[in-house]
Symmetry: C2
Subunit: 465 residues, 2 copies
């Protein structure tokens, strides 16, 4: 048995045949995937359309931040990258709710030590690029736009955006890590029987800056994700290392109160004054930014299959574009890399088998997190401000504390565990039905600490829930 | 009031401004739409990629037939075309179920006089083309492939497939009646916030011929749609005027018993012998056709919006591709024309308003028939052979007879009425819940004629169902 394990490990670390791999997209997932592949001995060419971000002035796109949570950390740890990344993250231990009067309420995400980490997207990308480039079997190519993908021959046609010349990059495997508008997926979409959907939200978003105070430090508690829930829309803010926060307004494109309806600086000022009263004093530049910064749309993309024969595979946003409300887009993409790597370790040279198992096992989880992310928008913008919702969360935390092996809140399963997303969704739905019933108990507001939860859970289990 | 009505009618028949309209696609919906538009005074250019089918030898694609039902007839009547078409249709009054022993059971579709009509797709298309061409304000262009659609300027770039020359056709309105792989929709898909999905079935289909008997007449009852339900798959056959039937085998692409698994003539012969024992004696050529005829896939396509400003609109399969199992694809496309025409009659020159109302009112109905068509596949291939299902249908027919204003079977609402599809779906779901309960009554097999249905329906209504 021990020998068998050792053999598998050997096989895992040194696969029988090293492949020439093309990874389209030098973003977060493309770089991490390449490091995983290189570790197994493959020779990787990363092709990126943009120019090298490490050579650009520092503020290009610097303000976008992401929330790294357990799945992301686990994937980084797998290649020894958690520590270098952790240095530039800021832990956020819960949500800080800002009400209409500017009053603050803190809602912890989980246990006292559990946090999600605000990291700079571009900084993290640069770190991963540099760590990829250090490997002798990874090469990075910038300013190369993919104009055609030949699925059958695992080759891609590239246009160099600086010289205008075309070249063909031939390999044995192609990975599409080229994001939600993936050109690899575009090529697969022209094959027969390819399921595909893109679904836009009726809300757009706009990024706004809360600058660092002149006196130093941060303008608000930096160890929280700040939310201004306002029913149909919301503002959120995540901390940056330099003392600033990046705010994001999620707001309807059209309608009575919408990006379309706010036309003048006076209207925008009035809107912020009355809707987010504590923002303008600390972020006076927001009104100007409102007209200068673009309004972006949000889309869920689902597709299947994710792979073409033993040649081509989609990964990350290219396979499953999710809206940002569960903070899981990057984490899910990183988890893809871990799953693919684990399957590859078991199948050796059989890339058809690897790709088949990868897509079968991963697709239900990608669908689950896509749906969870859409649902969580309603929770964040509306329910987090509701006393009934807060009580519900409190009771769930109590249940988790009392029955750690029988009850874990959905947010914790998604964010602070490696449980497959589809399982988290299913268990969460079951728990929701139980909580719906508990919340209907008369005088639940006062009676909740004294209820016999063991009996309540027992009944639910007996009822087959 | 009478004057007002007259005025509206005048306005309807003679709209204030006649437009230059491009209709992409000279198929069934493209031709019918053009006739409706021409009738309101617009000048229509129909652009078709194929060559003129009326100049081809008669047997090119002759065998594909469609089921015309009330919505289709209503649309044809609206422009006086029902009579010329009816001459070449064969009424089918119900399903003829063929069991594994070759035993036949007839299930009527509705009342004795209600029928769906088997018509030849190509023949119907040729009739509509000729009737369109007779109008002085319609021109047909063949062998013109659309290579680009300029949504903003309502112009299309065409490549003539005979001469290889390109031209630009400018107009004021463009209609995409160019089918499930619409190039107009392709152009709209590149705009922002366009929702789109394509979902393939795991079954494919293959057309097979049951020839006319040498002695004349038809090999089976020509006034029925024949079904060989076999659980996970089925064979169906529709009659043609020439004495033949067109059979279609709906069968899994892959798996234990599938298009992929039947590899040799011996395997196919054995499969038909054991699965459809009454077929080979009347259709000995089926085994050869099995290997010669292509296997086609089936897709549901949904998208939104259907229109671009006051310039461009999708119609028929281009807006809503449905699988064929409710026989409603063409009927739904024809109904689109009627709905658009009725809205246009009310809005005069305001094409932005016309398009807005057209897509808002029509989209829920298109979604409903798409979902109904997927569901009906299970009913046809599996449930129609089940005695419980037959009893259920019998009770429903009884309810319809006893309470004609309170109970109409779903199939009748979809096929023999003009009720919006979305309403039919909703009412059908409500009726299904009631029937589920009725079928659980003990000894329902014998007790059904004596039940107090007035009380049962009354209870359901009281319960808010």
């Amino acid at each position: 048995m021990t020998n068998r394990v050792r053999e598998n490990e050997e096989k895992a670390i040194h696969p029988p045949t090293s492949r020439n791999v093309t990874v389209l997209g030098g973003g977060l997932v493309g770089c991490l995937l390449s490091i995983y592949l290189a570790r197994r001995g493959h020779r990787v060419q990363i092709v990126e359309r943009r120019s090298d971000p490490r050579k650009l002035p520092w503020d290009a796109g610097r303000s976008i931040n992401l929330a790294l949570s357990d799945r992301g950390w686990h994937a980084l740890e797998g290649v020894g990258l958690a520590d270098p990344v952790r240095q530039s993250g800021i832990p956020m231990y819960g949500r800080m709710i800002h009400d209409l009067a500017g009053k603050l309420t803190f809602q912890p995400y989980g246990e006292a030590s559990q946090a999600i980490y605000s990291v700079s997207r571009s900084k993290l990308n640069e770190v991963l690029m540099s760590l990829a480039e250090e490997r002798e079997n990874i090469r990075l190519h910038f300013n190369e736009k993919c104009t055609e993908v030949d699925l059958e021959h695992a080759s891609v046609t590239l246009e160099n955006l600086e010289t205008g010349t075309y070249s063909i990059l031939r390999g044995e495997l192609v990975f599409g890590a080229d994001g939600v508008f993936s050109s690899v997926r575009g090529a697969m979409q022209r094959t027969n029987r390819f399921d595909y959907s893109q679904q836009y939200l009726e809300h757009g978003y706009k990024e706004l800056t809360i600058p660092a105070p002149a006196a130093g430090g941060w303008a608000m508690d930096r160890h929280a994700l700040h939310i201004w829930p306002r029913g149909n829309f919301m503002l959120i803010a995540l901390p940056n290392l330099d003392g600033s926060f990046t705010g994001t307004l999620f707001f309807p494109f059209e309608g009575d109160l919408s990006f379309e309806s706010l036309k003048t600086p006076e209207q925008v000022t009035h809107f912020f004054d009355t809707t987010f009263p504590d923002i303008l004093p600390i972020a006076p530049g927001i009104v100007r930014e409102f007209f200068r910064h673009p309004t972006s749309s949000m889309v869920s993309v689902k597709c299947y299959p994710w792979t073409y024969k033993d040649k081509v595979a989609l990964i990350g946003d290219a396979a499953h574009g999710v809206v940002p409300f569960y903070g899981q887009g990057m984490n899910a993409g990183f988890e893809d890399c871990v799953v693919l790597d684990r399957i590859a370790a078991q199948h050796g040279d059989d890339w058809g088998g690897i790709f088949g198992e990868y897509q079968r096992s991963r697709k239900p989880n990608a669908d689950a997190i896509a749906d969870l992310a859409v649902q969580n928008f309603v929770e964040m913008r509306d329910r987090v401000g509701d006393p009934k919702f807060l009580l519900r969360k409190k009771i769930e935390a109590h249940l988790h504390h009392q029955f750690p092996n029988r009850w874990t809140p959905l947010y914790t399963m998604v964010t602070f565990s490696l449980l497959p997303y589809a399982d988290a969704l299913r268990i969460g739905q079951r728990q929701d039905r139980i909580m719906d019933r508990i919340m209907q108990i008369e005088h639940i507001e006062t009676r909740w600490p004294e209820l016999d939860y063991a009996a309540l859970l027992g009944e639910a289990e007996t009822a087959g829930e």
